[in-house]
Amino acid sequence: LTTCLVMYFLAEFDDAANLLAANPDATTISIEEPVEIPKNQHSRLQEPGREEDDELLGTDDSDKTELLAGQKKSAPFWTFDYYQTFFDVDTYQVLDRIKGSVFPVPGKNFVRLYIRSNPDLYGPFWICATLVFTIAVSGNLSNFFIHLGKPTYHYVPEFRKVSIAATTIYAYAWLVPLALWGFLMWRNSKVMNIVSYSFLEIVCVYGYSLFIYIPTAILWIIPQKVVRWVLMVFSLCLSGSVLVMTFWPAVRDDNRRIAVATVATILLLHALLAVGCLAYFFDAPELDFPAPIIPAHNGTTVITKSH
């Protein structure tokens, strides 16, 4: 009896060893697929007529991409290779994602269309860095041009505003996605059908949606109130629509009021960032121009002289 039991356990170990031997094959096969996906994505994005296929494929293989994403990032988090998986993007991919955030296609989801389980941290980080310095430099330039003619004005570089801009923008780009991700996870535990994004995908969407503010900040140098507000509304519409189209499918299965409140909060915070930056970094353009008084004075003296 004992020999039978020993044989049985040995057979079990053999089976387990076979399974373990089979698993490396399984992981190697599945690891090859994420390498193929960027190439297919490249060819798909180049064919403009196939967009409905892209959208269908985006929703069909969402489960597969979730699995593959889980297997791709298998390095432990204290190794360098783990973080290298977040920078696995080529130049054309970053440019495509930026283009997708600036020209939102109605009905297409930014995450499904462009990110496709390959969220990167390059875009969010460097777009935020560029935005910080663009806002600080443009604000400084705009204040310089507004106060240029005044005799009491002495130019200062206002370097302290750079650190304030950096804190604000990085806090917005990282803490708001964290809060939103936590909120979506909490709702996901209550309502089973919600599509949920990973934290990095939310950071990616927020990071790329801030790109439109870079040219807007440069154009805010123009010292006209109407121009500035038109630019702000325009950029808010573009980036807000990217955010809404990303997060509406995630919350629409939830309670109606909560879904609308979530999307409204996302848009409100986005608008608050834009309005706050405009108010703090860019001085209000002066409405009165003291210059016309001087030519009138000269005109009157000329008239009296000619008389």
């Binding site: 360098f80 973080y83 290298q84 977040f86 920078f87 993007v89 080529d90 130049t91 054309y92 970053v94 390059y122 460097w126 860095a129 560029t130 310095f133 430099v137 400084n140 002495h154 130019y155 200062v156 570089p157 206002e158 370097f159 302290r160 650190s163």
Partner: protein, 217 residues
């Protein structure tokens, strides 16, 4: 140990021999000890290495000497001198003046570290300190531009001096970016070169902005 049981060493055989090990391979850096040389030689050797790297930055060619023998003395000297020259600006209220010494220092070093991490994460093959070395040495044209700006500002502060400063800073910014790109671009994967060059461009742009907006009190 059964095999050694019958080995016995008689106690009156003296053990003698040479303790020094002859050096087999004469590698160029290790076949003489640098402990015994006079201090002047040590300092001159390091100074010559730093000076050779400055010449490499002035005439950027793809040479591996800058990359192989990295050192951080040059970047430290450049960073400290640039930060010192950026002091004495309009700082009547501490809030709205130019950058403080610590701010310039942190910006340059932290910026260089972040760019190096960025290029390594994107798959670059350059080592961490080699990249820091190149980025630090390529700040040299901008330090020269700062010196020229301060001299021009001593002479006049009007529009003409601003245009001169703008041209000088712009030219040196282009030179810095081209020099560092010439050294660093080869170690990057070919379809990610723009992703690596852009942060370098941003880094030198910020430093150029700080130099250009320097206004004396």
């Amino acid at each position: 140990f059964p095999g050694l049981a019958d080995v016995s060493i008689p106690q009156d055989i003296p053990v003698e021999g040479e303790i020094t090990v002859p050096v087999g391979s004469h590698s160029p850096d290790e076949d003489y000890s640098t402990l015994d040389e006079p201090v002047k030689d040590t300092i001159m050797r390091d100074l010559k290495a730093v000076g050779k790297k400055f010449v490499h930055v002035m005439y950027p060619r793809k040479s591996s000497a800058l990359l192989r023998d990295w050192d951080l003395w040059g970047p430290l000297v450049l960073c400290v001198s640039l930060a010192l020259m950026l002091q004495g600006g309009s700082a009547d209220s501490k809030d709205d003046g130019g950058p403080q010494f610590a701010e310039v220092f942190v910006l340059i070093w932290f910026g260089a570290v972040v760019i190096t991490l960025n290029s390594k994460l994107l798959g670059g093959t350059i080592s961490f300190f080699q990249s820091l070395c190149v980025l630090g040495y390529c700040v040299m044209p901008l330090t020269v531009a700062m010196l020229v700006c301060r001299l021009v500002l001593l002479a006049s502060t009007g529009t003409v001096s601003f245009i001169i400063r703008l041209i000088v800073v712009g030219a040196m910014f282009g030179w810095s970016t081209l020099a560092s790109t010439a050294f660093l671009a080869d170690s990057q994967p070919p379809n990610r070169k723009a992703l690596v060059v852009y942060p370098i461009f941003l880094f030198y742009f910020v430093i150029s902005w700080m130099i250009l907006t320097f206004t004396p009190q």
